[in-house]
């Protein structure tokens, strides 16, 4: 059940009504049952693996807490969790490549392929489980003893499919708190959900028509078509993922839960380092806390090169986490190189920018960062390496054949609507930098408030693309 479906609208309305009518004592049961129902809409069989992971981590958390040498149960839990992720997400990719390598030396690969569908959300819940065990071993939180609450944390439907990669220490205590019906909080949650839906159906799914068309035949295009597709894909990805996150955060807020903010105007970043503090924040802080910091601590005597070492490993893993395939690995490596460059040249750049007026400096930094982001995202969107290299090598070549820009999935009207919607989103985000837009709206007179609601809802209804489009990050 995806958030932009009618099923979810029905499910969520009913769920909220029952949730607030129910005694606080039993709400976790409703949350758990509702979340399991929500998950089964994606994949019934995935429930078994998910439940197995929850049971294992429930006991491993307790074992880590009780153990005098915490490393043994911690390592065992990591092996189990990473093993599950490898088996269900990467095994077939690994085996395909092994087959190719063995073919070169004339040997048949004896290892059979697994025939199953990758469970939805596996990357998210496995990382949350690893984070939980690490937190318990570092004594940053105690092991959760209430199995029902522990399972509810993992299954919690707003974050089950696409995150945020929520920390147990932030969310689990909230399941014990009583959440009364609060009119202003519910309205605020609904506003966030509506805005998320707007980004998804009006922007992301509209741009997808153009992007999917061009990336479906990358080698047929060159020049400005590829550039537009690359820029559109970058905005599509952002609108899609942040749209999902807004719906998730809004849904959680209605129920009384406060989850980690996942995006903070990432395209306003003036460096790649800043971008990663603003994009998929729950995941990048997870990487920072559990991977980058320990790695850089180990190599702290290497100086800046120790940081580069930690960055490269962290971003390679980040790339692999994002998807199965060489394109994602390259995407991680490209980002790692960009961050390493920024670390190594920080003094030089500071000196250089002192000679340039501040406003110009800001614009140059922003432009370079944005172009880099478009490049790295759009490169990784290609289906394979050969298409990726065609993409790079043909970006600035004139199209060899006459191509009608408005015959690539978007007619002139819808092309304009797509661009206008991006501009509208960026204007809203600009105001977000000055304070909460939702609070701003809530402070306006009723007529203004309702006009804004009507405008957004009518835009969703009239301009939205409705069908079976799923969210991009769900595949991760």
């Amino acid at each position: 059940m995806v958030f932009n479906s009618f099923n979810f609208l029905l499910f969520f309305s009913l769920f909220v009504a029952v949730y607030f009518l129910l005694n606080h004592k039993y709400r976790w049961m409703l949350l758990l049952t509702g979340s399991i129902v929500f998950y089964t809409f994606f994949n019934v069989y995935g429930i078994f693996l998910f439940t197995g992971v929850i049971i294992f981590n429930y006991f491993s958390g307790i074992a880590i807490e009780k153990a005098t040498n915490k490393n043994i149960p911690l390592v065992l839990s990591c092996i189990f969790n990473i093993g599950c992720l490898f088996l269900f997400k990467y095994f077939n990719f690994f085996n395909t490549n092994l087959t190719e390598v063995l073919k070169i030396i004339g040997v048949n690969n004896p290892v059979p392929f697994f025939n199953f569908i990758m469970p939805v959300g596996i990357s998210y819940y496995i990382f949350q489980a690893i984070g939980y065990n690490l937190d318990v071993s570092r004594e940053m939180q105690s092991a959760e003893k209430h199995f029902g609450i522990f399972a509810t944390y993992f299954f919690f439907f707003p974050k089950i499919a696409q995150g945020p990669v929520e920390r147990t220490r932030n969310l689990i205590p909230q399941f014990y708190e009583k959440h009364d019906f609060d009119y202003s909080r519910v309205v605020s949650g609904l506003q966030l959900m509506t805005w998320g839906l707007f980004k998804k159906v009006v922007i992301a799914d509209r741009l997808a028509l153009f992007v999917n068309h061009v990336y479906g035949h990358t080698t047929s295009y060159s020049g400005y078509i590829l550039i537009i597709a690359g820029i559109f894909y970058t905005f599509q990805l952002y609108a899609d993922f942040s749209g999902y996150t807004d719906i998730a955060l809004g849904a959680a807020e209605i129920l009384g839960f406060k989850m980690i903010k996942n995006f903070d105007r990432p395209f306003s970043s003036k460096s790649v380092t800043e971008f990663w503090k603003r994009w998929h924040i729950s995941f990048s802080t997870w990487l920072m806390e559990y991977l980058y910091n320990p790695l850089s601590m180990v190599k702290r005597n290497w100086g800046k090169w120790g940081m580069v070492y930690a960055i490269m490993i962290t971003f390679t893993i980040s790339g692999v986490w994002h998807g199965v395939g060489w394109m994602f690995l390259f995407w991680g490596v490209i980002n790692g190189i960009a961050l390493s460059y920024e670390v190594l040249t920080v003094k030089f750049r500071k000196k250089l920018f002192k000679k340039i007026p501040v406003a110009l400096n800001k614009h140059i930094s922003w432009s370079i960062t944005f172009l880099f982001l478009c490049f790295s995202f759009s490169f990784s969107r290609n289906n394979n390496l050969s298409e990726g290299f065609h993409f790079i090598t043909h970006l600035f070549k004139n199209p060899t054949t006459q191509v009608d820009l408005f015959n690539l999935g978007l007619d002139p009207l819808n092309f304009i609507v797509g661009v206008a919607a991006i501009i509208f989103m960026e204007i809203v985000q600009y105001y977000q930098s000055k304070g909460s837009v939702r609070e701003m709206i809530s402070g306006k007179p009723m007529m203004v408030r309702w006009s804004i609601y009507c405008f957004i809802i009518l835009a969703i209804l009239n301009f939205g693309i409705f069908g079976t489009n799923s969210f991009i990050y769900i595949q991760f």
């Binding site: 519910v186 999935g409 009207l413 819808n414 309702w450 809802i457 301009f463």
Partner: protein, 357 residues
């Protein structure tokens, strides 16, 4: 909570009113689409028919049972009556059922004055096809008349329990609301223009079979004969049930029959003979609804070729493409049987006409 609920309802009504106004004042006067914009197949067939409207005097409209099984060139070669040759067109559309079917047939008749015979597959009104949920195809055909007929016919159905009737009516109501709220209207323009391109590329392929799209393969899984047997048994049992107890035939859907008679009379005024056809391989519920209905229709306006006891060849594995459709070989048999029945019907009608003169 009550305050929020009341405000939500109020907001919904405001948006509803604005949406309806938008449609009336801006969208409709722009005449952005023809009525058949909702699906590739409908638009393709409609465009082809419009280009050759003088050519076709016989049309068969219905679901995939029609477009997979009604072989037009064979049908034309088997019809032996009349001063002018029969030229038939297959207007079968995936998932097409009453009352969307009646909406399309009205347009078809209005736009194609050369039609003399219109065969209509008789189907039950049920849930919209799940693949069409919340797409334009689900709701493009609603207007207040079609919606009203749909609701009446659902609630007058004699073989559907009340909760199910409620669920089906709810889905159709959601469809009507979807339409009133102009769901995805701007993106439909995009779909329509991209479809136009597709149609340009595909349109020449229509000339071979005039709308017929056969499936060549023989159903590959022997183990799945079970599915075919279930349908065969369902057909036999239902026909047997009504034969054993003809009183049951009086238990028909009255609202649906009113619509059928309306169609027969209205089209007859335009010189069109309507023939309702029950096709093979429908499910048990379908037959339970349409057999009593067919019994009420005048003999001059109906053909039944679904009974597995009379037509076992329609339920054999060799003639199957899948559980619900015949393959190319099966479709030839189906078309031959249909042509024979059609011949008999037209001959009887013309001799009755001569006698009365």
């Amino acid at each position: 909570m009550l305050k929020l609920a009341l405000k939500s309802v109020l907001l919904f009504f405001i948006i509803f009113i604005i949406s309806v106004t938008l449609k009336k004042i801006i969208y409709q006067p722009l005449k952005l689409f023809p009525y058949s914009y909702a699906a590739d197949d409908i638009y393709l067939k409609d465009t082809w028919l419009a280009r050759h409207k003088e050519n076709f005097n016989t049309v068969f409209i219905g679901s995939s049972h029609v477009f997979r099984q009604f072989e037009t060139p064979l049908f034309d070669s088997l019809i032996r009556f009349g001063e002018q040759p029969v030229k038939s067109f297959n207007y079968g559309i995936q998932g097409l059922a009453a009352s969307e079917l009646f909406y399309l047939s009205d347009h078809l008749v209005k736009k194609n004055p050369a039609i003399k015979y219109l065969m209509i597959e008789l189907t039950k009104i049920t849930f919209p096809d799940h693949v069409n949920l919340h797409t334009t195809r689900m709701f493009y055909w609603y207007n207040y008349q079609t919606y009203l007929f749909t609701l009446k016919a659902i609630f007058d159905s004699k073989n559907t329990n009340f909760p199910l009737k409620g669920a089906i009516a709810t889905m159709h109501t959601i469809g009507l609301i979807d339409k009133c709220l102009n769901f995805g209207f701007i993106s439909d323009i995009n779909n329509f223009y991209s479809r136009n391109e597709k149609v340009k590329n595909k349109i020449s392929s229509m000339s071979t079979y005039n709308g017929f799209a056969p499936r060549k393969e023989i159903y590959p899984k022997q183990s799945d004969t079970n599915g075919i047997n279930i349908r065969s048994k369902a057909s036999a049992e239902q026909f047997q049930k009504y034969e054993n107890n003809p009183e049951l035939l009086k238990n028909y859907n009255k609202e649906y029959l009113i619509k059928i008679n309306e169609i027969i009379n209205d089209y007859s005024k335009k010189g069109i003979q309507v023939i309702f056809v029950i096709a093979p391989r429908a499910d048990k519920d379908q037959y339970d609804e349409v057999i009593p209905l067919l019994a009420q229709i005048d003999a001059r306006n109906k053909i039944e070729i679904a009974d597995s006891r009379k037509y076992p060849e329609f339920y054999s594995l060799d003639n199957s493409a899948d559980q619900t459709h015949l393959n190319k070989k099966g479709s030839r048999i189906f078309t031959t049987v249909l042509a024979n029945e059609f011949n008999k019907l037209v001959e009887t009608n013309s001799s009755e006409k001569n006698l009365s003169q």
